[in-house]
């Protein structure tokens, strides 16, 4: 039993690290909601691929899902390029269509299989350890540990190898373009990683909590530090912390694990927003008061 719980914790931690790595760059780039769009749209890819191969364990489902994620990004960009709509409206009309088609496909053609919509939205992290990875007859542990672990490695190496390029194209897109990097290629690379991550994580935590895992820890870290490198480490720290605390709370209160992790990460964000040393609300009010006092004193002196 203890062993099983440890495996669940491991899956939760790996899922949050895998999500937070692309999330940092989404937040900085100002495209955080693409994670929401992608995590909804992958449903269409999974449903469509399932109807083709009729096997829920096929790796082709992941391929289909990633393709659907990339298609969302591409279609959204295309709509923006027609200059008929602004970015927010373009995102808001593309992904609901993908998601709706996915839900309709599932409820019409895949009712009898274990692919219900509740699972897609909420995830089933508690059952993840039972899905074992069996190789040559040996039980090597839950397969989610392997997919998520691979995902963490993939995301980390992308950031490690393209660190300079990513940083440049986020903070100065035009300069990156001029000196010959291809920021749009990097953007699609990042979005591809986001899709893959969303797919492998939403299996365990559900499509909406994926957004919380991707966006909340980086936003929390953003309020505390000013350097990209420290932001990355702090984001990872917050994501591990919220998955551990969230898991413990969920087990203690016997509630949904994924929901609890999202809630805890939100509480951390709220605390940091209120009490962060410089950018926090309390600090800002305090500095403003101090400044007022200073100005009043100076005026009185004169």
């Amino acid at each position: 039993m203890m062993y099983l719980q440890l495996q669940t914790v491991g899956i939760a931690v790996l899922a949050s690290i895998a999500c937070v790595l692309p999330g940092i760059f989404l937040v900085l780039r100002g495209v955080a909601l693409m994670s929401d769009a992608i995590s909804h749209a992958v449903l269409l890819g999974i449903a469509g691929m399932f109807l083709l191969v009729h096997n829920l364990d096929s790796p082709l489902l992941l391929v289909g899902a990633s393709l659907a994620g990339l298609a969302t990004v591409f279609l959204t960009e295309t709509v923006i390029k027609t200059r008929r709509l602004k970015e927010d409206a373009a995102i808001g009309i593309v992904f609901p269509l993908f998601f709706s088609c996915g839900v309709i496909l599932i409820s019409l053609f895949a009712r009898d299989v274990h692919l219900d919509v509740d699972m897609v939205i909420l995830g089933e992290i508690a059952f993840a350890p039972f899905n074992r990875f069996i190789f040559l007859g040996y039980d090597l542990g839950p397969s989610a540990l392997y997919t998520l672990g691979f995902n963490v490695l993939l995301n980390a190496s992308f950031i490690y190898f393209f660190y300079k390029e990513l940083m440049l194209s986020i903070f100065d897109y035009d300069f990156a373009y001029v000196i010959g990097y291809s920021p749009s290629l990097l953007y699609y690379g990042l979005m591809g990683l986001t899709s893959i991550t969303a797919v492998s994580a939403f299996d365990v935590v559900g499509s909406i909590v994926v957004v919380a895992l991707m966006i909340t820890p980086p936003a929390t870290a953003y309020l505390l530090v000013n350097r990209l490198e420290s932001m990355i480490w702090l984001s990872i720290f917050f994501s591990i912390l919220s998955s551990l605390v969230g898991y413990a709370t969920a087990v203690y209160c016997d509630v949904s694990i994924a929901g609890s992790i999202a809630t805890v990460s939100g509480l951390f964000f709220l605390l940091v927003f209120l009490f962060a040393p410089v950018k926090g609300l309390v600090a800002q009010i305090y500095y403003k008061r101090q400044q007022k006092k200073k100005i009043l004193q100076q005026l009185q002196k004169n």
Binding site: A89, I93, S100, I261, F273
Partner: protein
């Protein structure tokens, strides 16, 4: 005639209910799209979920007024957190929308498991709000939707000029002595309640599409504000009525997604055939 109504009672109720939801969402959505706050609707609709759950746990009633009021309060809290944190930090708004949307929804999921575990109710109650189910709308639900839609339209017509002013040019409105901040608060609360009344029918996951898509499509055809408003309402209610009718005739077809697909068809046709606007400045 009477027997016709009796045998098609459900269908007629569904049509009235979704018509009201679609028209209200499209009307208020015009302002959301013009103010580039389209995705605020997405955050609000997700944020309403824990409010509905808490209200249910507290009051133990399934009265739509009570539940939707709870959802409305939670939606308002979510919306104001987004606006407050955007104003006080350098975080971009889309990150905040993502946080509020997912964290509130996650909390709603936690509450859902609490309700289920206590065996309080048919767990269908909250599940119903994920995708909506127009065919289970009771006549009292529709009465509640109609009353709230009526008030929302009253507020829109009362503040017609002011709402368009702050949507197009808040600085100009401010310079002319309008209380822009208070007007924004009124508009946001109105938006929250326009979203909340659709949660029965379309569900929290797809409600934002009903807000954005009609206005986005209508904007391609017309350029005067009142034409934009009425055309958006026409598109929105058309998609809602068509979608809910189709979904009630085809077995197992969920209402919300069907409505969204109908709405998307209107958008796709619009993008193919609407005149290309040459003035770069007028774009949404």
């Amino acid at each position: 005639m009477i027997s016709y109504f009796a045998s098609h009672y459900t269908i007629i109720m569904v049509m009235i209910g979704t018509f009201l939801v679609g028209a209200t969402a499209a009307g208020i959505g015009v302002f959301a799209v013009l103010r580039r706050q389209s995705l605020l609707g997405d955050a609000i609709s997700h944020a309403a979920l824990p409010g509905i759950a808490l209200m249910f746990m507290y009051s133990m009633s399934t009265n739509p007024f009570v539940l939707l009021f709870g959802g409305g309060i939670a939606g308002c809290i979510g919306a104001f957190l987004v606006l407050l944190i955007t104003r006080t930090t350098t975080l971009k708004q889309d990150a905040l929308l993502g946080i509020i949307l997912s964290v509130f929804f996650g909390f709603g999921v936690v509450l859902k498991t609490v309700i289920q575990k206590k065996g309080l109710a048919n767990q269908a109650l909250l599940g119903k709000f994920f995708f909506g189910n127009a065919s289970t709308l009771s006549s009292f639900d529709i009465f509640a939707i109609a009353v709230m839609a009526f008030f929302i339209f009253c507020i829109i017509f009362l503040f017609w000029k002011e709402f368009f002013l702050i949507s197009f040019d808040p600085e100009f409105a401010h310079a002319n002595g309008y209380r822009v901040f208070i007007l924004e608060v009124v508009l946001t609360i109105t938006t929250v309640f326009a979203i909340v009344i659709g949660l029965h029918t379309v569900g929290v996951l797809l409600m934002s599409a009903l807000l954005i898509a009609p206005a986005a499509a209508a904007r391609q055809w017309v350029s005067s504000v009142s034409a934009l408003f009425w055309l958006a309402i026409f598109f929105g209610s058309l998609a809602c009525v068509a979608g809910s009718l189709i979904s009630s005739y085809v077995e197992h077809l969920p209402t919300g997604p069907t409505i969204v697909v109908c709405m998307s068809l209107i958008v796709i046709v619009t993008f193919m055939f609407a005149p290309v606007r040459t003035t770069g400045r007028g774009e949404l």
